[in-house]
């Protein structure tokens, strides 16, 4: 069994909308009003064109498995072996996550497999965005 607790994020003014989103069951990205670039992680300006006119947009939550490792050593809050994954969202940005509802093995974790977001409450303040196989409902 997992010992200890996993590290949790401490939101900043620039990331608050993201963590309020996960708490409300929404994966929130940002999109530039000027050049339409959709980006992550959060910041109040466009990393592509530097415009400060940006909007928070709700992601479809659909993604594909882009890359991962399966960690075999102990980590606080985790039961090894567990996968540390990077997914590519349908909207373009990539993010780190864990894959849930799926064996943590190379045979089960296939690159490019379709995934969808699954939120898990950690505390009253923080819910984390995980991903599960899209056809594994």
């Amino acid at each position: 069994m997992a010992e200890g607790t996993r590290p949790l994020p401490v939101p900043t003014p620039e990331t608050k909308h993201f963590w309020e989103g996960t708490k409300a069951g929404e994966l929130r990205l940002q999109r530039c009003d000027a050049c339409r670039h959709t980006y992550f992680p959060p910041r109040p300006f466009c990393p592509k064109c530097a415009s400060r006119k940006v909007s928070v947009v709700k992601s479809s939550g659909k993604a594909k498995l882009f890359s991962y490792v399966i960690h075999h050593r102990p980590a606080p809050g985790f039961t090894p072996p567990y996968a540390i994954a990077v997914v590519e969202l349908a909207e373009g940005p990539r993010m780190m996550t864990n894959i849930v509802g799926c064996p943590q093995t190379p045979d089960a974790l296939l690159l490019d497999m379709p995934l969808e977001v699954a939120f898990e409450k950690q505390t009253d303040q923080i819910s984390l965005p995980f991903f599960k196989p899209a056809d594994g409902k």
Binding site: P9, P11, P41, F66, H71, I84
Partner: protein
């Protein structure tokens, strides 16, 4: 920078490498610095420029009794020392200082007087990577590799071969931590750390340090050691988060830094006699060979498999045994620079006969930063 305007006139590692529980981090800096000063025939009071990472320049200057007119505390991980060399060359040329000391010391294994390790929970990495169970470099540096393997059809056996070949170099080096020969089968049955990485594909964790002394090429001829000239330099940074690396099959920081260094040096790949690519993990030489332009994308594993980088090959690579077999304190870049200097002085344990041009290419963080130095031992 102007090629060959600045030279390395002092270079040394700590007296011991490996497990050094009797020395704190700052003393490892000092032990290496005193050895490098001895190598150059200098005293701390002769130094007027200081660059370091891991400790602040203030701490190292005060500890050693140096009164600098120029300092550089660039700390972007293991390639900081390559970047220090680049900045020092510019500073010497600009007349900001005459004689620069660059120090590294790290109690990576024993953790005596060591600095705390980030990330902090409000940083971007703390918010968007730490919650998903990353536990240091073995779980971050390795994340892009399955995508690299898928893109180019690279196998675990081919990645294991990187470690096997480097162990051949380490066997020739009395100071290497691991010298026993290994096979691909040994690597692939060694303990799993973070699939697809097994322990023999991961660097050592040791204690140690190193230091360099640089001055103008004009003054270099008056020093006791054969000068090793700075021919070209490069640096860049990309992202503090591995998940945000632009291209999982190629490092932008490597490409930018390497291209700059080659252009400054005015050399072609065929001119390079000896190469060091920072190998915290077995995939780094693969990315490095491709991003520096020695191999086309996806072809470096076959290049290593064909023994081009092995003893007797046309491009000797990581001839000290590398971070995989020689030593790795945490910020290994200093040891890559030391081996390049030894090769061009003609004093390396596994000496490449007649080596004239050597490149030391470093990484910082998890593909987060890069620094590249091209050295030459010919002034003309």
């Amino acid at each position: 920078m102007k090629p060959k305007s600045v030279a390395v006139v002092g270079a040394a590692e700590t007296t011991d490498l490996g497990v050094i529980p009797g020395m704190s981090q700052i003393q490892l800096h000092a032990d290496a610095a005193l050895n490098a000063l001895g190598d150059a025939g200098l005293k701390p009071t002769d130094i007027d420029g200081l660059a370091t990472a891991g400790e602040t320049p203030t701490t190292v200057a005060h500890y050693l009794g140096i009164t600098p007119t120029w300092v550089d505390g660039t700390a972007v991980g293991g390639c900081s020392f390559m970047i220090h060399v680049r900045h020092a060359a510019a500073a010497i040329n600009e007349g900001l200082c005459k004689t620069v000391l660059i120090t590294h010391g790290e109690s990576g294994k024993s953790r005596v007087g060591a600095s705390p390790r980030p990330p902090f929970p409000a940083s971007l990495a703390g918010q968007f990577e730490a919650p998903f169970g990353v536990m240091g470099p073995p779980t971050m540096f390795t994340v892009p590799v399955l995508r690299y393997m898928r893109t180019f059809g690279i196998t675990e056996e081919q990645i294991a071969m990187v470690a096997v070949v480097q162990r051949e170099w380490a066997a020739k080096n009395p100071r290497a931590t691991f010298k026993e020969p290994i096979t691909v089968a040994d690597v692939l049955k060694s303990r799993m750390i973070a699939y697809p990485f097994r322990i023999l594909m991961c660097c050592l964790v040791t204690d140690g340090g190193g230091a360099l002394i640089l001055t103008s090429a004009e003054r270099a001829k008056d020093f006791p050691q054969k000068p090793v000239y700075i021919l070209g330099t490069g640096e860049s940074v990309e992202s503090p988060m591995i998940s945000q690396m632009e291209d999982f099959t190629s490092s932008r920081a490597f490409r930018v830094s390497g291209k700059k260094a080659f252009a400054e040096a005015g050399i072609e790949h065929g001119d390079v006699d000896h190469l060091m690519i920072y190998d915290a993990f077995a995939h780094l030489p693969l990315y490095g060979l491709e991003d520096l332009g020695f191999c086309k994308p996806g072809e470096s594993a076959a290049f290593i498999g064909a023994r081009n980088t092995a003893p007797g090959g046309k491009l000797p690579l990581n001839t000290n045994g590398g971070g995989l077999s020689y030593m790795h304190s945490g910020m290994y870049g200093m040891y890559a620079l030391q081996e390049s200097v030894r090769q061009l002085r003609g004093t390396a344990a596994a000496q490449v006969p007649g080596a004239k041009i050597s490149i030391a290419h470093g990484v910082g963080g998890m593909f987060a930063a890069s620094g590249t130095i091209v050295f030459s031992n010919e002034r003309g």
